[in-house]
């Protein structure tokens, strides 16, 4: 190889090496069965209130309401995972499993398994 290209190659290799050796903080623990039910209850019990809040924020737009609810739901799942030192993915997976297997949710209204079709707002 032409030595003139050595500095360029070296810097590129340094960049590539930095990306490949970068590590994430150690994974949180996997949630056990009881924790998963707890996570589901924690998130799902607030669903009616969160949907109500979302309706207040977007009184005339069904998709925006649902999207706002999912934002609140995701935040609640992340909060639960952080405070219980378990993986965020496990909390989200517990919501899916609970909805699918009809776990008791503590919610005053039945949980919704559908979403309104995607309608991004034309006006912000």
């Amino acid at each position: 190889m032409n030595l003139a290209w050595a500095p360029f190659t070296l810097i590129c290799a340094l960049g590539l090496g930095r990306a490949l050796t970068a590590s994430a903080p150690s994974q949180s623990l996997a949630a056990d069965g009881a924790q998963r039910r707890d996570a589901f209850r924690y998130v799902a019990s607030d669903e009616a209130a969160e949907r109500h809040e979302a309706a207040k924020t977007f009184p005339t737009d069904l998709w925006s309401r649902d999207d706002d609810f999912h934002s609140r739901e995701a935040k609640r799942a992340r909060d639960w995972a952080r405070t219980h030192h378990v993986r965020v993915g496990d909390a989200l997976s517990a919501i899916d499993q609970g909805l699918r297997e009809h776990w008791p949710s503590g919610s005053s209204v039945p949980l919704v398994a559908t979403v309104p079709p995607c309608r991004p707002r034309a006006i912000y």
Partner: protein
């Protein structure tokens, strides 16, 4: 030696070194790589982490879905079942995987690939800006200093933090511009450069970069035409002809993405309303001021350090073109704040109607400014040389003049060098602001199921083999309301008791099922219908947008395959264009320019080859479409023959030939904290202005008013697309606030030119209701 002499000697040495580096390609690239590394270092150091910003989840997901399609399922990345209930992955405008940088994702995964892509694209942009500035007449030294000003500007610091990696497509802008300039000089290699850079930009998800770059290239052609219009007609025509060939081959090479995207946006057009604008003060802060959280400052940062050199650049007569480009960029970036608005005029063009954010024209302004700065430095450099030359000294030019010339050159150059520091710092600041997470390991053994999901945490769903029905995109993704996120099986027989269905194998583009039916029945798959789905038996159909197959009685080994004509045809056209470009590249060695009529004819044949392939692919069997009538949220047709019996008539007439026939609340005395729906029944004349929107002001007797402005009737049909002289049901949900009890609520309705200037449409006749400021009172109620 005095300190001043020491300093002069050091500066002289640095200048000579920089000139040497700029001349030597490997060394220059090493400097650019080092700069890109410094800027991208925070991204590279956190490359194992997940960017938790909402857009990063979605845009990164497309890359992951494409990677999994290839590595896990050994299929072309055509269909993405993991998002929105299934979508055309290749036709998703914001996906960036049809790009050489996808190799990084394939090899190292999405998050590491993203950081490496940012690093690599910055290098591409640095070298591109250098070469473009050189072509615009800058010296090597000046071009070296100017390159970071554009290629490391604020947009490339902001984008990775938000997951908007597609914005790195702007790093290809100088390459495209260079290609067009050289193509205008009839150089063969320039056609290849233009085509490759443009196709890369399109494949990289450049929803803003590609259309804006196309404008820049058009400007280059116009500038060439203006400078050659007198006396050099043949040269002008030949140059424009070669550039047009480059544009045609660029379009053909990008067909593998352009055709699918065109299909997607034809089926689900992106509707953009509003009249966005930026004051001059905001633009200055975005462009010159450093990053400040919770503000737009520094979003397109170049900084004040570039100003002296750029102002010097304006002193050259040959900079008129660049100066004009800069002025046009500023004018466009001001959006609707400027009067008249060039941005508004641009949005009249089909390709540009979907642009929402005018400030993004500050990106090409960055290229214009950096190039002007390069020209300014070049001018100062030349002037300093002339003044310092022996003949100038012999001619007795004053020492003061010589010193002034060197000082101007030194100050402008030094400002550019110092300016690199804040540029790099911007990248670090934005990278530090990101919220980062850790992804769980993929669960390959779990079968795929649709989940309710969450687009706000989308990256977590694909690894656990779940699709997210919760969906956001910049365009209304066709999504069936029948999709469910809690089904035990993703396939079912619609008619109860008609038979059984078992999944034999499942991959994104191919689903194999065993079906046994005692009578003709329909198999429903819990994914969205698309015209690209085909089956080996029965008929693929859409049931309210859900993917279904109508089958006869009997036992069937049903195979569903996703292979849209736009993907196949687009790939074929791209392949033929690639062949033509390889031929051109080989010819460019022997005959660098297109000089004769014969060579022009050969070029025309090369352009015609992909065009004919396109026509051939277009004439294949048309995919079956399902023109299902648009429905209101409560399931009724939007278009009706007349009003419902219970409708409350208004008959208010607006200019533009629109009538509000009736307005009806689902509950006349709604309860506080409950949902009701408001139905507005419209009728339009055969001729109606395009771009109309409906504004709805919901005003209580005391407290905060609410707003229900919208563009599409019932969220599905644009007024200009609706049939004339029919009743058009526009149903909007209305949440009555908790504190509404006892208050009188008035709902005022009107029309405005939501996509054309924002003015209200005058009310000509209020009919049976009150009129106030070009709006009519639709309903009023007292909440219980």
């Amino acid at each position: 030696m005095s300190p001043a002499r020491h300093l002069l000697s050091f500066a002289g040495g640095a200048y000579r070194t920089a000139r040497f580096v700029a001349r030597d390609t490997p060394l220059r690239l090493a400097i650019f790589a080092a700069l890109a590394l410094a800027a991208a270092w925070p991204l590279l150091s956190s490359a194992a982490m997940l960017n938790e910003f909402r857009d990063a989840h979605v845009l990164g997901h497309y890359e992951t879905a494409a990677r999994e399609s290839i590595l896990r399922w050994h299929q072309a990345p055509l269909w993405d079942p993991y998002y929105c209930g299934g979508m055309y992955l290749l036709g998703t405008p914001q996906a960036r995987f049809v790009s050489p940088t996808f190799l990084f994702t394939l090899l190292f995964g999405e998050s590491r690939g993203e950081a490496i892509t940012a690093f690599a694209m910055m290098m591409v942009g640095l070298e591109g800006t250098f070469r473009y500035a050189r072509d615009r007449g800058a010296t090597r030294f000046a071009a070296l200093l100017a390159a970071p000003m554009f290629a490391m500007s604020g947009i490339f610091a902001v984008s990775p933090a938000l997951g908007w990696i597609g914005f790195f497509g702007f790093e290809l802008l100088p390459w495209m511009a260079l290609g067009v300039r050289r193509a205008l000089a009839r150089e063969r290699w320039a056609i290849v450069l233009t085509a490759v850079a443009a196709a890369w930009c399109v494949g990289f998800g450049g929803t803003y970069a590609a259309p804006i770059a196309a404008l820049w290239c058009a400007f280059e052609v116009a500038e060439f035409a203006v400078t050659h219009v007198h006396g050099q007609r043949r040269k002008l025509l030949a140059g424009v002809g070669v550039a047009a060939a480059g544009a045609a081959l660029a379009t053909a090479l990008a067909a593998v993405r352009l055709w699918p995207i065109a299909q997607t946006l034809d089926e689900a057009p992106r509707i953009i309303g509003g009249t966005p604008g930026n004051t001059w003060k905001i633009l200055v802060r975005m462009f010159f001021f450093p990053l400040r959280t919770d503000s737009d400052d520094g979003e397109f940062y170049l900084g004040f350090f570039v100003a002296p050199a750029a102002l010097l650049g304006l002193a050259r007569r040959r900079s008129i073109g660049l100066a004009l480009a800069a002025i046009l960029c500023i004018w466009l970036a001001a959006g609707y704040e400027a009067n008249p608005s060039l941005f508004a005029a641009l949005r009249e063009l089909p390709l540009y109607v979907t642009l929402r954010y005018p400030e993004r024209f500050l990106v090409p302004l960055g290229l214009a400014t950096a190039t002007l700065a390069a020209r300014g430095i070049s001018l100062a450099e030349a002037y300093a040389r002339v003044q310092g030359a022996p003949h100038a000294q012999r001619e007795g030019r004053s020492r003061r003049r010589r010193v002034a010339a060197v000082a101007v050159f030194a100050v402008a150059s030094l400002a550019m060098v110092i300016g690199v520091g804040p540029l790099v710092a911007q990248h670090a600041l934005h990278a530090k602001e990101r919220s980062l997470g850790v992804l769980s390991l993929p669960d390959a053994a779990t079968p795929f199921h649709q989940a309710r999901g969450s687009r706000w945490a989308l990256a977590y769903y694909e690894p656990m083999q779940r699709g997210s029905l919760s969906c956001w995109e910049a365009y209304p993704v066709p999504e069936s309301p029948l999709l469910r996120g809690d089904l035990p099986s993703e396939e079912r027989i619609v008619e109860p008791g008609a038979g059984t269905v078992t999944e034999r194998s499942w991959t994104p583009n191919a689903i194999d099922l065993d079906v046994t039916l005692s009578r003709p029945a329909t198999v429903a798959i819990n994914q969205n219908w698309h015209a690209g789905w085909r089956s080996n038996v029965g008929e693929v159909e859409s049931d309210h947008g859900l993917l279904t197959v109508a089958l006869p009685e009997g036992t069937h080994a049903l195979s569903l395959r996703f292979l849209p004509r736009s993907a196949l045809g687009g790939a074929l056209v791209s392949l033929v264009a690639a062949g033509a470009l390889v031929f051109l590249a080989l010819r460019a060695h022997r005959a660098p320019r297109v000089n004769t009529l014969r060579e022009g004819a050969v070029l025309a044949v090369l352009v015609a080859a992909p065009a004919l392939t396109f026509l051939f692919a277009l004439h294949g069997r048309s995919p079956r479409t399902f023109a299902e009538p648009p429905l209101t949220p409560d399931g009724r047709p939007v278009v009706a023959d007349g009003l419902d019996e219970a409708a409350v008539r208004i008959d208010a007439k607006f200019a533009d030939g629109v009538v509000l026939e009736a307005a009806t609340l689902s509950t006349p005395d709604p309860r506080a904290g409950s949902d009701v729906s408001l139905e507005l029944d419209w009728r339009r004349s055969p001729r109606v202005d395009p771009g109309l929107g409906i504004f709805v002001h919901i005003e209580p007797s005391s407290g905060t008013a609410q707003n229900g402005d919208h563009v599409l009737l019932s969220g599905v049909l644009a007024p200009e697309d609706a049939p004339p002289e029919r009743t058009l049901r526009d149903v909007i949900p209305l949440f009555v606030p908790d504190d509404a009890r006892g208050k009188t609520w008035k709902v005022w309705v009107g029309l405005w030119h939501v996509r054309r200037g924002g003015s209200r449409v005058p009310v000509l006749d209020g009919g049976h209701t009150l009129v106030d400021g070009d709006r009519v009172l639709a309903v009023s109620f007292v909440a219980r």
